[in-house]
């Protein structure tokens, strides 16, 4: 089969072999979970429980207000111990609800299955919203919002993003192998909600087993196809994936729905059937715990709110030369100063990197080699943008597309002068936003 891809990009070492063959394991319930009230894009939730309350697994404990928001639920049963600000893996210190486990994991109700074919589209969307499902690839955008495009923007194609282009991470890969039926059921549900004619599952060719398995399982369904894409970073970036699969270019500042497409991550699609069929909320996710600093890398199914510490301990602990702990992958993930931070809905990986991998070489001046230009998946000229931003020429930087930067980090990765290009462009984006507001 023909392999598709996008223009430019780079190919960092994959390091997938550390965990790619490790079956998803369930870890023992933690003693405490810390459930963040802002783990999604949009307004934070307001708690509806107070310290001392008893909660059951799956019980709603905080609600969002407005359209772009989400709900959070107790991920195990026990007592609400504290509602306070704790460090979160996205670098902020939001309010979290600490629940002390009673060890029983007592569910709120019995989650009985219904046939989703009999449900209305509104009811299905409602169930997805109430289950607190958000994009599980990292951005954590509320899924029900994504599945409600305005009528003026009809969706003809639904894309499942199975690229998992970040090095090290293998959670999506394992889920495609172990939960393929759920994935396909979720796909059918989402297709019905969107009214999309077809689904394309885009998978990087370094996951041949997943491509073969899903090909076999979708052989009889003409409206679902599996498309191998080149193993190249950032193949899984939404706009680049759409470009690779459909040759459609999302206009700058626009959304995939502007070109008739909705993209969901593998984990998100897998979470959908449970929510729609049983109304059981999202209380767990699969996390890859990996990196040279982890003694035994693994893929784990964990309750939302479980501290990183528990995951790392379950994987044999850290090696002494661990220098960095990262929430997510090495290209876009966020460095942590403590392993007490909890897993949130967008945590795809817990990465421990050792000194030899993270050591930064000295920064030189730009030698105008053009590597960043040849790599930028958005067609920007990073070296020029950075210089404009440094000299406070924000209008010109904006004109040259600074706001289109997807912060994938490819420019900084390839730069032979070790200039923190993407980091400075991120600052520039903030400055431009401030200027415009």
């Amino acid at each position: 089969m023909q392999v598709k891809t996008f223009k430019r990009g780079t190919h960092p070492p994959e390091f997938k072999e550390l965990a790619a063959d490790k079956k998803i394991e369930e870890i023992p319930l933690p003693e405490n979970v810390f459930i963040s009230l802002s783990q999604h894009i949009g307004a934070p939730c307001k708690p509806i429980v107070k310290p001392g309350d008893e909660v059951k697994t799956g019980q709603l404990i905080a609600e969002g207000e407005g359209f772009v928001t989400s709900q959070v639920h107790a991920s195990l049963s026990g007592k609400v111990k504290k509602i306070d600000k704790y460090p979160s893996p996205i670098g902020t210190k939001p309010t979290m609800i600490q629940i002390e486990s009673d060890g029983n994991d007592e569910p709120l109700q019995e989650w009985t299955e219904e046939d989703w074919h009999k449900l209305s589209i509104e009811e299905m969307k409602n169930r997805i919203a109430k289950a607190g499902i958000v994009g599980m690839g990292g951005a954590a955008f509320p899924t029900n919002v994504k599945l409600s495009p305005p009528e003026k923007k009809p969706i003809d194609t639904f894309i499942i993003n199975g690229c998992e282009c970040e090095p090290f991470l293998t959670a999506d890969h394992r889920m495609m192998l172990e939960n393929s039926d759920k994935l396909l059921e979720g796909t059918r549900i989402i297709m019905k909600i969107l009214g999309a004619k077809r689904t394309i599952i885009g998978i990087e060719e370094n996951k041949l087993d997943a491509i073969e398995l899903l090909n076999k399982k979708t052989a009889s369904e003409s409206n679902i196809s599996v498309q191998p894409v080149k193993t190249k970073y950032p193949q899984g970036a939404e706009k680049n994936l759409i470009d690779a699969l459909l040759k459609r270019k999302v206009p700058a500042g626009g959304l995939p729905m502007d070109v008739g497409v909705v993209v969901n991550n593998v984990g998100t699609a897998i979470a959908v059937p449970q929510a729609v069929k049983t109304k059981k909320p999202l209380i767990e996710r699969v996390v890859t715990v990996t990196g040279q600093g982890i003694k035994e890398p693994k893929n784990l199914r964990v309750r939302i709110g479980t501290p990183f510490k528990n995951l790392i301990e379950y994987c044999g602990g850290l090696t002494p030369d661990t220098k960095k702990i990262i929430n997510g992958g090495p290209m876009m993930g966020i460095a942590q100063y403590t392993i007490d931070v909890p897993v949130i809905k967008g945590t795809s990986g817990v990465l421990a990197l050792t000194e030899d991998i993270t050591q930064k070489a000295k920064e030189f001046t730009c030698i105008r080699c053009g590597s960043c230009v040849e790599t930028c998946p958005m067609g920007l000229v990073p070296t020029r943008l950075v210089r404009l931003i440094e000299f406070d020429k924000l209008n010109m930087a904006e004109e040259m597309g600074t706001m289109s930067c997807i912060e994938c980090g490819s420019c900084a990765y390839v730069c032979p002068s070790n200039i923190p290009l993407v980091q400075r462009i991120k600052v520039g984006k903030q400055l431009i936003n401030e200027k415009n507001n």
Partner: protein
């Protein structure tokens, strides 16, 4: 144990990405120097140990100049780019120029060609070529006196280069054998490091494969010289040399692979690289056929260097999903 871990372990905080490619400026410079070894080796065989001495003097003077200026500016020398500049300058000098001239050119190349602009990355013109242009303008006779290659056993103090031969009517290259042995292998007169096309191409292809030079530049530069030179030759074979001669004579090969591809002084955009190469190619042919000088490679590159900021400005690629206003 876990408690101890979270309390005592100090983790590094930094913004993503957390990986970086193993290239750095010095690795690039050193690789380009390595790529020049075949050409240097041939020059020693061809012109004798004198040429190695010239190369070492030039490299040493460049490094010393850089060190002194950096010291005055209270900075440190952090890269080996000045060594490369020195070697490249030496390659473009006629054999037997004299140590004093070599040193003078080297000081000019680094001081005026590079450091005055702020050092590596900020210079507008290729420093090695600027050093050579300075020597050419200041000592035109010295710079165009060609010693015969040592192993050709000729007593002649002055020796015509293929291009000079063409320009001043005493053709050196006449039959097919002259092309292969003379132009391609390098058994002709000329500057220290420019005579052997094959040795230069060997190193040049190496840096193209390593992606330390933009392939678009040599392709468009050499291609333009070949096509444009070919057009003139087809019009009047009696008056104009053939395109193969153009391609392999003078400093075109070293210019195309090692000078025009200098990252700092060439465009950063892919389209810009094409324009840069084509422009330089046109200028080479114009100077060679209609100018007062036999060779135009040096000026063609320096001239196009000046246009690089402008080229970069007007060849910015359209970014993803850009809507033209």
């Amino acid at each position: 144990m876990a408690k101890k871990n979270s309390e005592e372990q100090r983790f590094t905080l930094s913004s993503s990405p957390h990986l970086s490619k193993e290239d750095d400026v010095n690795k690039i410079m050193n690789t380009v120097i390595m790529a020049l070894v075949p050409a240097i080796a041939f020059s020693v065989y061809h012109f004798g140990w004198d040429s190695l001495l010239t190369i070492m003097v030039a490299a040493g003077s460049c490094l010393a100049t850089e060190y002194l200026i950096k010291k005055m500016r209270k900075r440190e020398v952090t890269d080996t780019s000045s060594l490369l500049t020195g070697i490249l300058l030496a390659m473009t000098l006629p054999p037997g120029l004299g140590i004093g001239f070599v040193m003078l050119g080297s000081v000019f190349a680094i001081a005026i060609g590079k450091e005055i602009f702020g050092g590596l990355g900020y210079n507008i013109f290729n420093p090695a070529l600027l050093g050579r242009a300075f020597l050419q303008a200041s000592f035109p006779v010295k710079m165009t006196t060609w010693e015969a290659p040592q192993h050709l056993a000729m007593d002649a103090k002055s020796f015509a280069t293929p291009l000079g031969g063409y320009k001043f009517g005493e053709s050196v290259i006449q039959n097919a054998g002259d092309y292969i042995d003379g132009l391609i292998m390098g058994n002709v007169g000329g500057c220290i490091g420019e005579t052997s096309a094959i040795a230069i191409i060997l190193g040049g292809v190496f840096i193209l494969v390593k992606k330390y030079a933009d392939w678009r530049i040599p392709v468009s530069y050499l291609g333009t010289v070949f096509v444009l030179g070919g057009i003139f030759w087809l019009i009047s074979p009696a008056n104009y040399p053939d395109p193969i001669f153009h391609l392999f004579s003078g400093g075109l090969m070293i210019g195309a692979f090692f000078m025009a591809t200098d990252m700092v002084t060439s465009p950063v955009t892919p389209l810009g690289s094409w324009i840069f190469g084509i422009g330089a190619g046109v200028i080479v042919i114009l100077i060679r056929l209609f100018g007062g000088l036999p060779e135009g490679v040096m000026y063609s590159i320096i001239f196009m260097n000046a246009f690089v900021p402008l080229i970069d400005r007007y060849t910015r690629p359209k970014y993803f999903g850009e809507v033209k206003k």
